[in-house]
């Protein structure tokens, strides 16, 4: 079985974020980077499936040279080889262009399964996996919290709202977007780290038409939530009416009760 895992590098979760001067993104100068959390779980799921079913895990990541650290880390944890779609400023294209570039880069792999996190920790669109599935002509399932391939068919458990779950039987090939926190992610062993040195990382350019796929959305402005301070007097001196108005505001405006 061949499994491709799409992984993204994002700013470290402990970083203090500052909006950049153009108000289009954050200052990246002081930042350190790590793998987007749910992509890490996607990799773990892939490695577990490989341990049970055999086959190959191929990691694919898009971005500048610094993305190599995410790729190397995945190889050290047990992925077999990697595809690095190299390009500057590509990490800021919209979800459609991202999905298109990723889909074109892995199309030839003819994977049995494509896994990725359900959304990235930076932009958080939650669309890349779904669009990639569409472009590859694959069925998909989102917010997957359990993958069971012990029988003939692939079964996945999806997280619904209000504590509801759904088991789904999928035909392969297909694409799954994986929820965070569903397993215990393995650590890279020292042996794995040394072995990763010898594994293939194929650098490719984004397919020309993919990069020019056009944007269906643009970021107009990035800003921190504005803090406002305002005083209102409720009830006009009538405590009972004031209490009722307060309850209404807490429920409908502040939405805390």
């Amino acid at each position: 079985m061949k499994i491709v895992v799409l992984m993204k590098q994002v700013p470290n979760r402990d970083a203090i974020l500052r909006v950049n001067r153009e108000e289009k993104w954050i200052e990246e100068g002081d930042l350190s980077f790590e793998v987007s959390e749910s992509d890490g779980y996607a990799l773990e799921e892939a490695l577990r499936l490989k341990e049970k079913k055999g086959g190959e895990v191929v990691v694919c990541s898009l971005g500048p040279q610094r993305v190599k650290s995410v790729i190397k880390d995945a190889l050290a944890r047990g992925a077999d080889r990697a595809i690095h779609i190299l390009g500057d400023n590509l990490e800021h294209v919209g979800p459609f262009a991202t999905a298109k570039i990723l889909a074109e880069a892995i199309r030839e792999e003819q994977a049995d399964l494509v896994l990725t996190g359900l959304q990235s920790d930076d932009y958080g669109y939650g669309q890349t996996g779904v669009i990639a599935a569409e472009l590859l002509g694959l069925p998909h399932a989102t917010i997957v919290i359990e993958v069971d391939y012990s029988g003939e068919q692939l079964r996945v458990k999806r997280e619904l709202e209000s504590g509801w779950y759904q088991w789904y039987t999928m035909r392969t090939p297909c694409l799954l977007t994986i929820q965070s926190g569903i397993s215990q992610i393995r650590y890279a062993t020292l042996k794995g780290i040394m072995a990763a040195k010898k594994k293939e990382i194929r650098e490719v350019q984004p397919a020309a038409d993919a990069a020019a796929a056009g944007e269906f959305q643009t970021v107009t402005r990035i800003y921190l939530p504005l803090k406002q301070k305002q005083t209102q007097f409720l009830g006009d001196g009538d405590a009972k009416r004031g209490a009722a108005q307060l309850a209404e505001k807490l429920r409908n405006e502040a939405r805390v009760i």
Binding site: A15, D30, Y187, A188, M194
Partner: protein, 595 residues
């Protein structure tokens, strides 16, 4: 991964005191390979993900958990990293060992457990065990299946380890030894399976043995310690305990060699662990100082706090420079010794830098204590509460100045070892001291050097500090001759100067190397740290030398020496206030230790 081993010539141990090095000659953390960095990441993730969240359970003496964590760490390769592959290890370089040690330092208790397991409890077997014993024990220690402990100290013999009273006698059929005695302060004592025990054969032959847990070998209750409460420390009673002759370590009567050589390794590992702890303490202090508001501002915006944060960072960075410079030296020497490939030559390669290892132990343990102390202070009242991390860090840090040879013993060892190397013709200390005396007696021309290279002023301070060290050491040797060993205060004074010399030079070389490879702009804050450190170090050197010289010299001679001292420690102070603010600001912005 022997990035540092290229030329087959080793730098003589102790030569930092009399020779000049170029930045290219020293190994620095900036020279880490990608694999080194990945090892650091995975070790840190393991400590933060598995060990630190469970420290409260470890402190409740849950040794089942401790064993599990040791095994988990072992699976990742942390115990066997530097062990040869034929004994189940990975055969990686000493740099990797240092990197793992650093990460372990994020939990002092667990670092202590692992320090016994992968260091002093394992290495005597690896380096001195019979082939049979190595094959029997080492692979199972590397996987964490067997937990090890090192039993040297006794109630009446601590620093004076060779005064041990434990005895060993050969059985009448000559097949095994029978050991009797009591040991104290045994790390992992509560749950170890295998012990490295030192005892005297025939009443006076100090000897090392491997002893398995068995009937007759009993550990006492857990000691009530000030810190590292999540590590097991007990006494150990040996009541006619038997061990086969194959479990003899090295030769009968040569146990002191094992004890001392293994300690050299233990010392640089302890330094690395301190360094890892310091990085964590600094990061946590920065975070707290950013969160804590007083007078309407985060306390990190106040100069008093910036001073502390900057000083914590500076000592961490300088300490790190010392560790990896020394590990680089050891790695080069091992690369040369690898031709011989036997354990003895490997140990000799490490012993070459015994003085440097002692310096690292002392400097890093005291830097770590400084950081812990300032962390408590930054946390203020919360620093005194056991609900916050500073209190534990403070208690945990204190032991580092006591174990692996007290800092006093290690300080006194440094000049002693250097002098012994000089007497044996391995280190050209005497010609250097003679040249210095000639310089002192010849008229001085005002120096016209207008060196404008990076850190030229600091490099000059370090060069002159070497002269101060030689002056003090030379004068003391001349006055006391062989009796110098009895003059502890003088030895301590000389040692403090020597350690500052090593620290200054290591920091300067690291920063120069960084500036050369990444540009002076990128290295600006590192250069600040070196300027701050050297500025303060030269004041310490001057005070130490003045007081020591006054104790060993008088009259005209003293006046001549003090005049020279004044010249050698002449320093135009840098603006350390502004520099420390810059150093702190970068961390305050990033909310962590960034160097």
């Amino acid at each position: 991964m022997s990035a540092v081993v290229e030329e087959k010539k080793i730098i003589v141990g102790g030569s930092f005191l009399i020779e000049e090095r170029t930045p290219e000659e020293v190994f620095t953390p900036e020279d880490f390979t990608e694999e080194h960095r990945m090892i650091a990441d995975t070790a840190r993730q393991f400590m933060d993900g598995e060990v630190r969240p469970r420290i409260d359970d470890l402190e409740k003496k849950d040794w089942k958990l401790a064993r599990e964590l040791v095994q988990k760490g072992a699976e990742l390769g942390f115990i066997g990293a530097t062990v040869p592959e034929e004994y189940g290890g990975l055969g990686l370089d000493q740099i990797s060992g240092g990197i793992i040690g650093e990460a372990l330092g994020r939990s002092a208790s667990f670092a202590t457990t692992m320090g016994a397991q992968g260091g002093i409890g394992l290495l005597p077997i690896l380096y001195y065990g019979t082939e049979e014993a190595k094959r029997k024990y080492v692979p199972r220690i590397v996987t964490g299946e067997l937990i090890t402990a090192y039993a040297l100290t006794e109630a009446g013999s601590g620093s004076d380890a060779l005064a041990a009273k434990a005895t060993a006698r050969l059985s009448e059929d000559g097949t095994h030894y029978v050991l009797k005695g009591e040991k104290m302060w045994i790390t992992n004592g509560g749950f170890a399976d295998v012990f490295v025990v030192f005892a005297k054969v025939d009443g006076d032959k100090f000897t090392g043995f491997i002893v398995e847990r068995q009937e007759g070998l009993a550990n006492g209750a857990e000691e009530h310690k000030m810190g590292i409460k999540g590590s097991s420390t007990t006494a150990l009673a040996l009541d006619n305990v038997r061990t086969p002759v194959e479990n003899l370590l090295g030769e009968v009567g040569k146990g002191h060699k094992i004890a001392f050589n293994i300690l050299n390794i233990g010392r640089f590992k302890l330094g690395a662990m301190c360094c890892g702890g310091m990085k964590l303490m600094t990061s946590e202090s920065v975070r707290y100082a950013n969160e804590r508001h007083q007078f309407g501002k985060p306390i990190s915006s106040f100069g008093a706090i910036k001073h502390k944060l900057a000083e914590m960072a500076t000592r961490t960075w300088v300490g790190e420079a010392l560790i990896y410079r020394t590990l680089g030296l050891i790695e080069s020497a091992l690369g040369v010794a690898a031709d011989a490939a036997d354990a003895e030559s490997k140990l000799r390669a490490i012993e070459e830098y015994a003085a440097e290892c002692s310096a690292i132990k002392v400097i890093l343990s005291e830097f770590a204590d400084y950081c812990a102390d300032e962390m408590v202070q930054i946390y203020g009242g919360y620093g005194y509460s056991a609900d916050y991390p500073a209190e534990r860090a403070y208690r945990d840090s204190r032991i580092n100045r006591i174990f692996e040879g007290t800092n006093e013993i290690n300080r006194m060892l440094i000049p002693g070892m250097l002098m012994r190397r000089a007497m044996a013709g391995k280190l050209a200390l005497l010609p250097a001291a003679q040249a210095l005396m000639d310089e002192l007696l010849s008229p001085q021309l005002p120096s016209l050097d207008e060196d404008e290279s990076v850190l030229a002023a600091e490099a000059k301070l370090a060069r002159n500090a070497k002269k101060v060290a030689l002056m003090v050491l030379g004068t003391a040797a001349q006055k006391y001759m062989a009796a110098l060993a009895e003059e502890q205060e003088v030895l301590l004074g000389a040692s403090n100067i020597i350690m500052d010399v090593y620290a200054m030079e290591s920091a300067i070389l690291r920063a120069q190397k960084l500036a050369a490879s990444q540009g002076e702009d990128t290295a600006a804050l590192h250069l600040d740290m070196v300027r701050v450190f050297c500025n303060d170090a030269v004041e310490r050197v001057e005070a130490e030398a003045r007081n020591t010289l006054a104790a060993i010299s008088e009259g005209d001679e003293l006046r001549t020496l003090l005049a020279a001292l004044k010249r050698f420690t002449k320093n135009t102070p840098t603006n350390t206030v502004a520099a420390r603010r810059r150093i702190a600001d970068a961390m305050i912005r990033a909310n962590r230790y960034v160097y």
